[in-house]
Symmetry: D2
Subunit: 343 residues, 4 copies
């Protein structure tokens, strides 16, 4: 069985495993104040051209979202997000467990539009009962989104402009950021640093064992952020493990190369499904593909491959998900393509 159901099925890139091995007996202080973390921070700030940024390393996505959002909001404030956003749909109420409401915006493709944000905020401000309603104070988007779609540079710029005009924060979840960075019409790291208040660079889904690098640009958010990390359970004892991994990812463009690898294999796979006349439920240009398989196709592919079943569409069709990852091998993709061709 060859697995494609997610992009966290294997361990880590060989460069990372090697560095972990090499440094195994080096002694460092704990909790992220070691030389490896320092070096990784410098490399990330350089890549973002954001010398004044604060960079923190956390273990996973839910932890990161919770820590950032709870640190930024006052009790009566909520965070705007698409209905399909990870914080709304797949974190078991982790944001609410910190006391904050996720304020949802409808979305068919996983993205929200600047105009939706503006309308929501202005409607709240114009409501005579505004004090009885959670105050929208932050926008959360994922790049790429949970459905694989991406924000173009101009879309993000428009959202950023809207947020700044309205005086609310913009937070970008980059769990799979390397894939988005690999497209030429999406914001670069430098542009993300210019346009957002805080974003993160996902490691877990791009070849690290684990780890997310939070880049904070907004001065108010920087203050006391390490207390927040500790309180939310993210102050990692052997914090150097995060530094070692991100230092490796930001050496010799490894992070970008990993994204490019995932994207190239996804492109091949996308074409194979398309050529076969199989449609996609979401129009994803990134490493998550959502082909709609009929029952015969589903049965045949299931015999040899694992992939995720998203939802039953109608009596004969199912939305599925296939992901490529840093570890996907060309020969496995080619094999899958042959099997698709033979459907």
């Amino acid at each position: 069985m060859i697995r494609f159901e997610s992009d966290y099925l294997e361990g880590a890139l060989p460069e990372i495993m090697a560095r972990l091995q090499e440094t195994n007996y080096v002694q460092t202080a704990g909790y992220g104040v070691d030389p490896y973390c320092d070096a990784a921070r410098e490399k990330i700030k350089a890549a973002c051209e954001a010398e004044n940024a604060d960079v923190h390393f956390l273990v996973g996505g839910t932890q990161t979202n919770t820590t950032v959002i709870a640190a930024a909001l006052r009790p009566h404030q909520g965070v705007l997000a698409a209905e399909s956003a990870h914080i709304e749909a797949h974190e078991t109420g982790a944001i609410e467990a910190t006391g904050h409401k996720v304020l949802t915006l409808p979305s068919l493709d996983g993205k929200i539009r600047a105009e939706q944000v503006r309308e929501y905020v202005l409607r709240h401000r114009a409501d005579e009962s505004f004090e009885h309603i959670v105050q929208p104070a932050m926008v959360y988007i994922s790049q790429p989104t949970e459905t694989g779609t991406v924000y173009s540079f101009s879309e993000l710029k428009e959202i950023s402009k809207t947020c700044r005009e309205l005086g609310i924060l913009l937070f970008v979840d980059g769990a799979r950021l390397a894939c988005a960075l690999s497209l030429d019409y999406t914001p670069t790291l430098q542009e993300l640093a210019e346009l957002t208040d805080v974003f993160y660079i996902g490691g877990t889904k791009h070849g690290a064992l684990f780890g997310e690098a939070v880049v904070i640009l907004n001065e108010d958010l920087k203050k006391d952020f390490r207390y927040m990390i500790k309180q939310r359970g993210g102050m990692f004892a052997k914090g150097r493990l995060l530094g070692i991994q991100f230092e490796a990812l930001f050496t010799d463009e490894l992070y970008f190369k990993t994204g490019a690898h995932e994207m190239r294999l996804a492109d091949k796979l996308r074409s194979a499904f398309s050529d076969k006349g199989i449609e996609f439920y979401y129009n994803s240009p990134t490493n998550q593909l959502f082909p709609v398989l009929n029952d015969a196709q589903l049965e045949k592919l299931s015999a040899k491959y694992s992939f995720s079943l998203q939802k039953r569409l109608d009596d004969g069709h199912t939305v599925t998900r296939f992901c490529t990852s840093w570890a996907s091998r060309e020969e496995d993709i080619d094999g899958l393509i042959s099997d698709i061709n033979a459907l």
Copy 2:
């Protein structure tokens, strides 16, 4: 200016004011363990034919919703409610501030259907990622709803049956319950006590200065509930004030008569709008009416009356709200009706 924008514009029923005055110098213990509270509890249990119920008195609706829901749920559980539910739309995230997500169901009339509950819960249970999604564990409905509509006995029975089959709790917010009780096709107090796990009998909007009486039927919910009241700020020092008011409301059917008065005047007003060809945005049979006024009508009525503006419908029309209350005077309603006729 005669005001109709809500049903909490005045003080309290004369019977209540008189009792407060008469008992003013009587000394009693604090925190709701006095003879007045005891007597009120007995009267309410008798009215509900629920001798084993626990009855607690709280000050207001948001406090009551928060206390009940936080007492009932474990951290990973959420409460199902209509999109327009008070706890979702107008409590500034009070439920989320206790750590719990409100799980919304779409609704055009403020009501939810048993089938929606069943589908939501079964879909959650069937999802392979169910542990990544908030677990629905309680249904919250308002009787009447925020839009003035009501659940019939058979509708509530169906919701209750569904909740019990699914093993989830049913909680009814009765902030304006007296109005619903006044209709012959809605559940009675006894039926509410049979069909729900917990509900409350609203005083604030039916002639009390303030106060909501929580009736707990479910044994698990009874345990340690007074701790919850204290923690959520609802342990009222001079608790007897709540007992005195509810004892008065449940003496000589005062609560029911108050509801009937509000309903009778609302019926007259509803007919007047209808006769004039003015449509209602929500089809409310209770004391909140939502006529859609055109700009000319709005301007004329605004000169003499205050009422609430719910939303701008289109370029020439506005959804408004007119409420009758325990204190509404027949002559004021008749005057308003004349002015409607003259529009």
Copy 3:
């Protein structure tokens, strides 16, 4: 049975009951934006000589403490308080339920000293693990304290100076403030307004049916405070009831006269215990007295009076509490004094 166990055993001052009756049918907007609340706010600001203060009315003490503290602190911050403070000892974890730790300082008399605050904060800042420890960000004191003791003007000034030097907030719980105001060595309302960031003027224990008036001086705390009130369940539908009561309390010095009455009767009672050689467990100059009774005394007084049993001191003695209130009658105090003399 004549009761002395607390100061919330009766209803309200006749001036308040009369005003509630007089205004009963006047129509006003809800939620504290009515003319009575406005008038009460103006009177309180005038009494405090603090024209720029924001004044809000809440229903009870726990609700007020919770709302103020949760509004002021970021997630990693805690509030310093005496071990015997109400928020630490008698609010069922209401502060923790908002996510914040109460950081306790030892105290024998219910008061904390400026030096304790300074030491605690400086020790935290000097600790290399400071980010692993809750950050002290506010001082909470009660005036009078839970044991009836009071802060002198110079003591409060010193605490205030310390807080400002350290950059932390000062919050004064004035549930029984009228008693403290009645002493000549304690801070006046104007001085409280100068020295604190926020304090409240207790109504419940000084002749109101209920109600606490929060006076916010610190600009940062003012922002969006009404959202906080709503979220914590304190947005009172018939908010005017609070305005009417506080307007009455701040008309013709009624609040101060009420405090003076409670204090005068407490003084008489204190002398009676002292003259009899009965000692006090706490050295309270206010309306709560804590005489240590032997078993014979306890039995005799219990036959005719109710009072609260604080703790068993040793095999033959019990710490008790006797309170005077706005409603205490001279003849009842005199009768009790005779019975004390006859012990």
Copy 4:
């Protein structure tokens, strides 16, 4: 500089690094439902002789404490712990951030006694204001404690018996459990499984890169625990990494051997300090030593070694901490001992 300030200064045991390397390209499902986690669970249950236990793997200690405690308590309940307990003193209010109060018991040696628990709980139950006070519902202890001391089998048995008689839960934090297990008078894994409701086996400080294995014995606590893990940010995407590490630790007694190694080197070091007449601030029989150094000693040792400064004791003395770890080398310990001898 040779470092002794903590036991998380290095990476992981060679056996663990080897297994991570070997399994790097194996594909498995995420979130802890893979064959490695299953195998590790079986080995741990076998070692505990607790076939019905539920075993979950989390990333770190604060996360584990928060998840277990928040899962177990209802809103009005708190957890009893020593004043020096990690959850009280060094987790930035993580427990309070879940809404629960830590109820502290005084302790000079980091341990609490069964009698203290009994007294606290019975005093609460006897208090007339019990509903105004947080309800103690769980005991949290660390084995070894934060000061290196340990509970003997009979001490733990007495605490367990007391908890069961009182109907409250017992939770043991075993962040450094391997050290305690290495002593013959402490409870074994099987005894921990018999005497507690839930405990955890610490990996981070015993040679894993990271990871804590939670063993749940109490049926009520087992229910829906994975939801709690997800909500608190502990649902690790590449969950297999935890399984691989714990499987290695519980193969060929590696966990026990690691503890024994740490203890043997600590014993040598302890003797060296003692022989030199240097006293210990805490009487720790485990791998954390707390020698009190005078300024001359401090200066000399600081030149060559790093260790942690706990607190300034008096004008000439400082409490320090030296830890041995899985990675401590015999020659480094011997070198340090020579330097101590030469002081």
